[in-house]
Symmetry: C2
Subunit: 460 residues, 2 copies
């Protein structure tokens, strides 16, 4: 008998689950229905800032697979269609057409919840004004591109200096706008420690971006035409022709919560290692929380790479295979003009919150042999557990060719390596690729020294 | 009492051992004498091809530290001075001035042998002719640069298509010479498997280099002026205005052998994990053999990064500290014009020789998101042990931004990871740095499938 899989959400997790399930299952064994509220499927939300900046030529390049392509693969894809309720007992989803308002019930054998995330929008005066945009969906990206083309936009203010914020600040300054980025934290990019954030601060100012930190936004001044005119932050009034909100996202888990599924402290749906939230109900991507391998705590990390992994695991499981998600260690990477930022594991505040005692070591190195003409600078910071020397985290801020090294640290953390064990690892060397001592090894060695220095001569 | 350390050889291992020892030891505790036969200390031999190509502006940039700088650091550095014999019982070295022929005996408390490697030179007719060069020392690099400037050199032939060979072929073609590279193996660059070597072959031809493989050199035609005129290989006569020999190197261990130290099957001096060859006698760098962590066998791998590690370990040990070399896994990286090549672990022939049963998987991917304007292609090949799925090796051939990923595989091998364990590792993702599934993960996943497929349903 054909089993029906219903998937709510047609982006990374949902479509990856749908296609993986169909690929795994024998012909005719599965009926896969995907409900997608918007106009697009399988697009790279992470690419939106680069499209707006002009690095990526057109919107269509961000679309990995169109609705038509998914349908050709045998998926019953229903666009502009949303799920309004889930009945776990009846194994049924209430469905509504976004445009026509038609409703119906859709029974399922297995349900996949891939409802993604929604932007964090603070309740600020004037936040509904025209000219204020989030950067969460392709539709929003289109609105920004259209808005920038519509009139003479000279001054941009970006609220929030996380991934999306700094990438959008790059996009705005690349398009020639006078750009200010504002964040309440002492330094931008709190995904890294403040000492590393200070390097990003300095580099962004070098790119002509005004960086205001330690300042909260109080509201927006709106013109008579209903369009934003300025951002108010304490005593400061920042004139703005366009405002981008980049304050992060939170799990879009209300549908799941209403159905009675368990929601964790992070706001994300909780699942088991196979991404199962309840018998026959699977959830993945930006709407779930996942296990952090270092802190041992559940965390919400909205990233396309996790969303795709979840989709593949869920697709394997609903087709009768075995897939399990091993958790995350918080690896991420970003680019702001010529600056690269990588991080993995725990930062200082995260290590503190998890209760770790640790040492830190920061080194400067070059991406290649120092004498190589393309040599670029980078700063590498490492956190290691005191006593054991176990690598807890690493952060890289540098120029072109630096940040992808974060994957070496990520692999080391994944395996529970100590910084001492890393010191003489056999990493690749040739003058165009690194100094004889790669920055990873130099940082590990310095951290190992700090671990030694922190051990009392006669431990009690 | 002051202990005297005598170091034979003033390049990476020797000078690193000398300076590390002085840094570790208290003031006046050590007298460090270094004997160096040549004119230079602490230079990057790996950088020579890039200097000849013009990527690196001048010879001096390759010199990390001059003799004067070492002397200022308190090292008794004796240039143009060679050791002619070691007496282990008397703890004494026979020393000779290269220029003046003066000889003397020099007693030591601890001896460091860092005599490096010598190029493999086949006994071929005409190989002593002018215009035929090795690329082992800075002196040889100078001779090549001078020779290229001296006359109208239009045709270069490079003998041997390993690291130095392909890098020198790049240098020659970059300088505008009509360049042919010749090797007896079926494909160039036997440090990777023939299927990956075929990609290098094709790319080099795309750069305008003529690649002749499966052909042995028989000798050289020499003109009446004593200068090379052609390379003879079977029926082929290759006219040549300059010939570069890049046939690899072998350990320069004769001094150690004559003194009665143990020489391994690879030709390198054998040491313990602390790089001690005999009580009070240490050896490191290109003249020793080291432990391969996968095959369990001693190997000779001449690389600046290992030489520097050995130097640091020896310096720590002779100063009374503790340093141990954990062995190698054969990681290496190279660049030929816009092509990057990385390898780690075992290739197929090495895995065969070690007795492993294994599966392979090869994937193509991009360095960035496919839609990113700088996206470059790469091919990744992975070897995994059958049954266990343990990662045994990886090879990357690709364009800019691809090959440094080899360090992720190296770290995974170092930790004994299986390809299955690697499949969902938390590696960094953002469009300018990788697709949502980094090439490392895609290759691991495909290899994991091969491992599964190779396991019989009912293992005996």
């Amino acid at each position: 008998m054909t089993k029906r899989i219903v998937v709510i959400g047609g982006d990374a997790t949902g479509m990856s689950a749908a296609s993986t399930a169909l690929r795994h299952a024998g012909h005719g064994a599965l009926e896969v229905v995907v409900l997608e509220r918007g106009h697009y499927t399988s697009y790279s939300a992470c690419g939106i800032p680069y499209w707006i900046a002009g690095d990526v030529a057109s919107r269509d390049e961000l679309i990995a697979r169109t609705p038509e392509q998914h349908r050709e693969a045998g998926i019953d894809l229903r666009m502009r269609t949303e799920a309004t309720a889930i009945d776990l007992d009846k194994r049924s989803v209430s469905v509504r057409g976004v445009d026509d308002g038609d409703t119906y019930e859709l029974g399922y054998d297995e349900l996949v919840i891939a409802t993604g995330a929604v932007p964090t929008v603070p309740p600020l005066e004037g936040s509904e004004a025209e000219g204020i945009f989030g950067v969460q969906s392709l539709e929003q990206g289109e609105q920004i591109v259209k808005d920038l083309g519509d009139g003479d936009r000279r001054r941009a203010v970006v609220v929030g200096a996380g991934y999306i914020g700094v990438e959008m600040a790059e996009a705005m300054v690349t398009r020639g706008l006078e750009t200010t980025i504002i964040d309440q934290a002492p330094e931008p990019f709190t995904q890294v420690d403040p000492d590393m954030g200070a390097l990003i601060h300095e580099a962004m100012e070098g790119m002509g971006i005004t960086v205001l930190t330690g300042v909260s936004v109080d509201g927006f001044d709106v013109g008579e035409d209903g369009r934003v005119r300025a951002v108010r932050a304490g005593d400061t009034v920042l004139p703005a022709d366009i405002v981008i909100i980049g304050l992060g996202v939170k799990p879009n888990a209300s549908l799941a919560a209403d159905a009675g599924l368990t929601i964790g402290a992070s706001g994300g749906i909780t699942t088991d290692v196979r991404m199962q939230a309840a018998p026959g109900v699977w959830a993945g991507g930006d709407c779930v929380e996942v296990h952090h391998r270092l802190s041992g705590k559940p965390v919400h990390i909205a990233l396309g790479t996790h969303a795709n992994k979840h989709g593949r695991i869920i697709g394997t499981n609903v087709a009768g295979g075995y897939g399990a998600f091993p958790g995350v260690i918080g690896t991420a990477i970003s680019k702001v003009c010529s600056l690269e930022i990588g991080r993995t594991g725990l930062g200082e505040s995260e290590a503190d919150a998890a209760g770790f005692g640790y040492v830190t070591a920061t080194v400067e190195s070059t991406t290649t042999a120092g004498y190589w003409p393309g040599a670029e600078m980078m700063t590498v910071k490492v956190l290691a557990e005191q006593r054991t020397g176990r690598l807890l985290g690493a952060q890289i801020v540098g120029r072109e060719g630096s940040a992808k090294r974060i994957d070496v640290f990520a692999t080391a953390i994944w395996n529970g390596m100590t910084v001492e064990e890393m010191t003489f690892m056999d990493l690749s060397y040739a003058p165009p690729f690194s100094p004889v001592w790669d920055a990873v090894l130099v940082a590990a060695r310095k951290a190992a020294k700090e671990v030694q220095a922190a051990v009392p001569a006669s431990p009690v």
